[in-house]
Each structure stands twice: as structure tokens, then as C-alpha cells.
Amino acid sequence: MNIEQQDFYTQAILSLAALVGLTSFLMLGQGRLLRLIFVFALQGFLLSFTTALAGFSLDNPHLYISAVLTLLLKVIFIPWMLRREVILMNTQRDIETLKNKTALMMGGAGLMVFSYYVLHPIVQTTSPVMLNALAVSLSVVLLGMLLMITHRQAVAHVVGFMSIENGLFFAAIVATNGMPMVVELGVAFDVLVAAVLFGIFFFHIRTSIDSLDVDRLNRLHEVDK
């Protein structure tokens, strides 16, 4: 089925999926922490917009609540918390040098193709829209993991982790036409708890090694190598 024959809602969902994928790529290549956090907030906003659109199109009012929760948590609260942490550590001007950025980006593109390849058998049983949305979500999850592997700052790790969660959330919204309210509230609460836990975790790393660069944890060996 060609895209011209889909309804407007499907086209919009597909475009939003593409944009969510794009924000993942932007995060992957981003060395500045504040900009990384900004792109993360942008991804959260796209997610919230998708949720609201799904709520509007499927006439499912409780999705609006979910959209507002996403907006509050992922666009305002968590970015604000991370931003405060970065400014507190005075690392907002540092540029993290990523080793071999081009290879990293191409690896990301490879992961995207891989996630389509993995999900392709599903096309037999479901609509192509769901396949696309699921594939983009899976690639957002994988790109989040790649982000966590390649960056050294703890803040970047948290952003990677949260973007994995974003990918899963996007899949859930698009594929199920809105989850039950209980599940959504549970997910939102989990994210909140995770954010608080990360705050404590930051505090501990900071007091023990006086930096949020996790590579420096290697220096905590008892004996020098």
C-alpha cells in the first residue's frame, strides 16, 4: 500500500516516527551535553505530540492525560534535572570527543536497517504502518544503547537510557492504539522513580570521583595496572 493511499493520520504518524528516529541520530552524534539534553527534550515533545494525535484521531480521551504526563516528565522535569546537574558540575562547555564519529553514524544507520530486517517477518501478520512504527521504535532503542556505549558522561548515559524508554513508549502508543490507563500511569511513575534514582546515583559518583565522567571510575582500582 503506497503512502498516498493512507489516511492523513497514518501519514502524520509515519512522519513523526521518522522525526523521532532523526532525533535519535542527532543525540548519537552530539558531544555537547546541554545540546544533547535539548534534543532529548525535543524527542519527548515529539512523543507527547504523537500521543495527543493518537488520542485525537482514535477519539480516546485518556491518551491526552498520557500526553500531558509525557510533556511534564520528559520535556520539562527530566531535562531540567539533567541540565541542573550539568551546570552544577560546570561541564556545560565541555565537548566530549567521540571516537570516530562518522563510523558511529554509519553504525547507527546500519542498526536502523538491521531493525527493519529483524521485524520484516511481522509484515505477514499485521498492517505495514505498525511494522514501520515498530521498526523505528526498535531502532530508537538500539540507538539509545549505542549512545550509552559510546558516550563517557554519566548524564549522556541517562539520556540514552531514557531514549530507550521513549522508543518503547512510541511502539506502545502506535501499535496498541493506546494502552490501558493503569499501564501508562505505571510507566510514567517508573520514569519518575528512575529519574530520582539517577539523581542519587549522580550524587554518589560526584562525591566519590568528583566528576561525572564514568571512564574515571577505572581509576578506582585497588592496585595500579
Binding site: 503506497n2 509515519l14 521518522a18 522525526l19 544507520a109 536502523m112
Partner: protein, 314 residues
């Protein structure tokens, strides 16, 4: 009749290019709290340069003196291929996107040769930088344009734009990527900030200006005009591929006039965005240009991928 319109369109292209440059400068001056020169200042500059006698270095060969004419005519030919106010013109029927890129490529080749010919250090440095940037930018541009080609299953610009126009408003994820890729490539290819600064003559940062440093008089006028034409050409590509509404499909006077107004409006808006981005973004180190362009390539690649994966029929 159609040939007549095609010639008029090419003439409009050549005539309006300095105006676009003037408007862009006006926007930037406004944003930077400076007093802007008149919108017609680029025309005055060109006129002044044409009147002046060109000074040619002693060791310059025929390449140096012929190059401006070749560059200008290749750019004009490239501009004649791009639909500005009307579709289905004979000039756009005989040449497709790949020919367009070829015209621009040959213009650039002669510019680089002219930079090398004179034998100064700056000319050679500018040529080598220009070739580095363009060898990375060209694949990205082709990727972006091929996305349109795949959606419309043609490499002909006019047919492709007609396809987009007749389809109505379809949100295509691949076009979003292709649009961003083409914008990035445009900035790199036309030598704007953050890749190159067209107003600087600071020795370590210039690319385009380094190549044409030895030119003067009417030669310089032709090269400057060609680069203004190139900026307008890329602007028209962006405006007419992704937002083709308003372009004339039939050759009646009314639709042509409306097409002209539409493209002027679109280009003016595009120049405002370019002016804003040039004001807020700082110039990039030369060694980071490769990262920038590989990002543009990545966007183009994602556009192709998302066309194949998200949109194609199964």
C-alpha cells in the same frame, strides 16, 4: 511559445539572482543592527566591476582568462534546467537532475583550475579546499534529489515536481530528511556560514574567495554573478521540489505571473531563514566540515531508506 517562456525564465533567473543576494544581505544587516545597503547594491557592484579594466597576472594562461566565461555560462545552463515559474518547458525536458549536477560540477572544475593556474599559494589552497568540500557534498545532494526521483520514478525535475504537485498534500517522511539534507548541502555548496564566509578575506578561513582572489574587472563580475546565480538555483530547488505550490502548469499569462510572485515570495522567505541561521551560527573549523557533510549524507541516506521502507508499496 514554450521555448520563448523558457528563455524568459532563464533570463529572469539571471536577472533576479543579484536581487536575492541583496535581500539576503538586507536581512542579515537588519538582524545584526547594521544599516543595510540598498537592495540593488549587488547590481551596482556588478556594473562597476564590468566597467573596470581587468588586471591579469603576468603568468596567467588562457585558462585563467577563459574560466569566468565558462563558469558563468555553465551556471546559466544549469539554471535553465531548473523550473522557476513554469513546468513542462522544453529546456527542462532535455536535461535531468544528473545533467544539472554535471553543469555545476564542470563550473566548479574550471573555477578550481583557474585558482591553480595563477600559481599563488592562496589559489591552490582554495581550490584544494573547494574540491574537498564538493566531493563530500555532491553525493549528499544526489542522495537528496534521488529521493524525489524515487518518489516520482523519474530523474526529470519538471516531471517530478508535477508528480508532487498533483499528489496534493502528502506527508512523506523521506521528504523531510531530503529537505534537511538539501539545505545542509546548499549551505556548503554556495559557501555560506558555517562552511565558508563569503564576506571574509581572512587568509586562513576562505575557500571560495581564495580561488578568485586574483580576479578583477569583468572577470570578477562574472564569477560573482555566477555564485549569486548558484545560490538562487539551490534556493529554487528547495522551494520548488518541496513546496511546489503556485508554480505554473499551463502557459497562460495569469498563471505565469502568479508563478513568478509565488517563487519570489518563497525565495524571500527562504533568504530570511538563511539570514537568521547565518547570524546565530558561528563559522566551523575546516576540519569539522567533513562531519557536517557526512551528517548531510546520512540524512540523505535516511531519506532514501525511509522512502523504501516506510512508503513503498508492498
Amino acid at each position: 511559445m514554450n521555448w520563448f517562456i523558457a528563455i524568459i525564465q532563464t533570463f529572469l533567473f539571471v536577472a533576479l539572482a543579484p536581487l536575492l543576494a541583496g535581500w539576503l544581505k538586507w536581512c542579515k544587516c537588519f538582524l545584526q543592527n547594521r544599516r543595510a545597503p540598498s537592495l540593488f547594491q549587488p547590481y551596482r557592484d556588478l556594473l562597476k566591476l564590468i566597467r573596470k579594466q581587468p588586471v591579469v597576472a603576468e603568468h596567467a594562461s588562457w585558462v585563467f582568462t577563459r574560466a569566468p566565461y565558462i563558469i558563468f555560462s555553465a551556471t546559466v545552463l544549469a539554471a535553465s534546467v531548473v523550473p522557476l515559474i513554469a513546468l513542462n518547458l522544453p529546456t527542462s525536458a532535455v536535461a535531468d537532475v544528473i545533467v544539472l549536477v554535471g553543469f555545476l560540477g564542470s563550473a566548479r572544475f574550471f573555477l578550481a583550475l583557474a585558482g591553480l593556474d595563477i600559481g599563488t599559494a592562496f589559489g591552490g589552497m582554495g581550490s584544494s579546499r573547494e574540491m574537498t568540500v564538493s566531493s563530500l557534498a555532491e553525493p549528499a545532494m544526489l542522495m537528496a534529489v534521488f529521493t524525489l526521483s524515487m518518489a516520482a520514478s523519474t530523474t526529470n525535475l519538471s516531471v517530478g515536481i508535477t508528480h508532487v504537485l498533483n499528489e496534493g498534500l502528502v506527508l512523506r517522511p523521506s521528504f523531510v530528511f531530503a529537505l534537511f539534507a538539501l539545505i545542509l548541502v546548499t549551505i556548503a555548496e554556495t559557501g555560506r556560514i558555517p562552511i565558508d564566509n563569503p564576506t571574509t578575506h581572512l587568509e586562513l578561513t576562505m575557500i571560495h574567495e581564495a580561488m578568485i582572489l586574483e580576479y578583477s574587472g569583468r572577470h570578477l563580475a562574472l564569477i560573482e554573478w555566477a555564485s549569486q546565480l548558484k545560490l538562487m538555483l539551490y534556493g529554487v530547488l528547495i522551494a520548488n521540489i518541496f513546496f511546489p505550490w503556485g508554480i505554473a502548469e499551463t502557459s497562460s499569462l495569469q498563471t505565469l505571473g502568479f508563478g513568478l510572485l509565488a517563487i519570489i515570495g518563497k525565495l524571500a522567505l527562504l533568504a530570511v531563514f538563511l539570514g537568521i541561521s547565518e547570524t546565530v551560527v558561528a563559522k566551523m573549523r575546516l576540519f569539522r566540515v567533513q562531519e557536517y557533510l557526512s551528517f548531510a549524507y546520512l540524512l540523505g541516506l535516511l531519506g532514501m531508506l525511509s522512502h523504501i521502507i516506510l512508503e513503498a508499496s508492498r
